[in-house]
Amino acid sequence: MSAPIQAAPPAILTHGLRKTFGASVAVEGLDLEVGRGEVFGLLGPNGSGKTTTIRMLCGLIEPSAGQATVVGIDVIREPEAVRWRIGYMSQRFGLYDDLTVAENIRFYAGVYGLAGAERTERIARQLEWFSLAGRANQRAGELSGGWKQRLALACATSHDPALVFLDEPTAGVDPASRRLFWSLIRRQAEAGMTVLVTTHYMDEAARCDRLALLSRGHLFAIGTPESITQQFGLPTIEDVFIELQRRDEGVVV
């Protein structure tokens, strides 16, 4: 009797995930399943709980209730075990301005346990993949937004994580850089990396395989971009988003 071949566990699986800060509820009973290799978008107005959700899944903040497994590991019980398998890129990029481009990659690769020839090879690979080779020896602080963003992604993925979290990675970046960045995200996904991304840009939302819409901490809708627009009977994701924001904040557009 051989054990049945088990499919790899989903990249993310949450059940009843909840987070309160004092009296206010940031995330309310979130059930989410994200498959391997998916580019999954988390959408919602400011304060809808996107960042809180990502931070719970990274083990940066402890959920008030509920369960969450990331690449098959319980985040709440074993946050450190999860950390070897994920990458995280925050809104603020988390780069060291006084280190060069190559040094930033080297540092994060090292922190993720890479060393020696493997690390050297990985630094070269990241520089090439993320079109950073031309400025390898420039200080990160001297880079413009688009370069910083690509460097941050290179740093977050040097250890080939199974899953990478991108928290509003393209905020404040010019359109050409955003386009380049998304082609990089898609290539990572094709290589088998799961990507969970939050964004405010509707064209970016449309590039995701699946979307989850959050509103005031509640999961409002989940599915492919097409299924969501159909569900709301609205022509684009942008219309759905504005509708949500109107209900959330009373904003009349």
Partner: protein
């Protein structure tokens, strides 16, 4: 499994490497780390260097003898005293001292010469306004010098077993008379406390402000690796600072180094670590660099006032002594003064060294405990 274990070490080495690269590039901080000790030492040092000469002195000579006059002129010859007049009695003496017309007084008992003739030790008293400890130091030095000179003269004329002159200095207004040489070694300790606590706490808070700490805590780097990665580079800074102060202190101010430097450097280790850990602790509380700076100064004040650096602990109220006992600097000062000025070593100072080790271990444990790999 061994490979896995080796891998988990890399975050620490990576952290260490990053800290050194950053330190090398942060010129202003580097300049502060090296410049501050040099500037402080020169400032403190030259203030101490002001040697007290020509202290205005009155004489109360109740013995009216040739011996008393000879001692007065010996005192004057040291250059530390200038006789500004004679007084008739103790009341007048006190008036002169209180008014500030005189800062020292020499008193001879009626039986001064009598004692000498009987072959007994004769006592002369030098009273000093020790509100200014520097003045009293000058007086002590001059008085003992003069006393020794006269005794030697007497020895020559009378021969072995003859009488001696014992000049006693009575510091008034500041019974806990403190020697200025105590300050220079103390500067080492105070400076280390000041710069290390502040620099280290700011180093972590800076990471928090720039958003890199958030990035770091999602990586698999352990809390201890993170903390040690911050401590080790600054350990080196601490030793550089000690060396600068010792070299400058020796060259500019002739600070004695009587004991073993190896022992001193060895015992500095737990002290530096304790201060760095204190910096880490501050950084777990402070949210901005400005807050960290202010908390650092808050730590500094009791260190200067209660550790025995400026004022003797014996003269403090019990509560202040207790607070002083909770400062690593209090123990390190004993070590510094013991090794540099008295030439004693581990055999006497082991207790202080042990206490410092306790501080180091305790403070590291506390800051690792307090540091959370979460960002709430």
């Amino acid at each position: 499994m061994t490979r896995r274990q080796r891998v988990t070490q890399w975050p620490f080495w990576s952290m260490l490497w990053k800290e050194f690269v950053q330190m090398r590039r942060d010129r202003p901080t580097l300049a502060m780390m090296i410049g501050v000790p040099a500037i402080q030492l020169v400032l403190f040092g030259y203030a101490i260097q002001t040697e007290v000469r020509h202290l205005p002195t009155v004489v109360l000579d109740e013995s009216h003898s040739s011996e008393s006059r000879a001692l007065v002129s010996s005192l004057e010859n040291t250059g530390n005293f200038t006789i500004v007049g004679e007084v008739r009695d103790r009341v007048e003496l006190q008036e002169r001292l209180e008014s500030g017309a005189a800062e020292a007084a020499v008193v001879f008992d009626p039986q001064f010469e009598h004692d000498l003739k009987r072959g007994r030790a004769a006592h002369a008293q030098v009273i000093v306004d020790a509100a200014d400890p520097l003045a009293s130091n000058g007086a002590i030095a001059g008085a003992s010098q003069a006393g020794a000179a006269r005794s030697l003269d007497l020895l020559r004329t009378v021969g072995r077993g003859g009488p001696s002159i014992d000049v006693r200095v009575r510091p008034w207004y500041n019974p806990g008379l403190k020697s200025s040489v105590y300050i220079v070694p103390g500067i080492i300790g105070v400076l280390l406390s000041m710069t290390l606590v502040v620099i280290n706490s700011m180093a972590i808070v800076r990471e928090r402000e720039r958003g890199t700490l958030e990035q770091l805590v999602v990586t698999p780097i352990g809390k201890t690796s993170l903390m040690l990665g911050k401590i080790v580079p600054f350990l080196l800074v601490g030793y550089v600072q000690i060396t600068i102060i010792l070299v400058l202190g020796r060259l500019l101010f002739n600070v004695p180094i009587l004991g073993s430097l190896t022992t001193l450097y060895l015992m500095a280790f737990p002290f530096i670590v304790a201060n760095l850990a204190l910096g880490l602790l501050v950084s777990t509380i402070a949210e901005t660099q400005a807050q960290a700076m202010q908390m650092g100064l808050l730590v500094l004040m009791p260190n200067i006032l209660l550790s025995g650096f400026m004022f003797p602990r014996q003269a403090m109220p019990v509560l202040a002594q207790w607070i002083g006992a909770m400062l690593p600097l209090t123990y390190f000062l004993k070590i510094l003064r013991g090794i540099l000025l008295k030439g004693i070593g581990m055999e006497v100072l082991w207790r202080e060294a042990l206490i410092l080790c306790g501080f180091a271990v305790g403070l590291i444990a506390l800051s690792v405990r307090r540091f959370r790999k979460t960002i709430e």
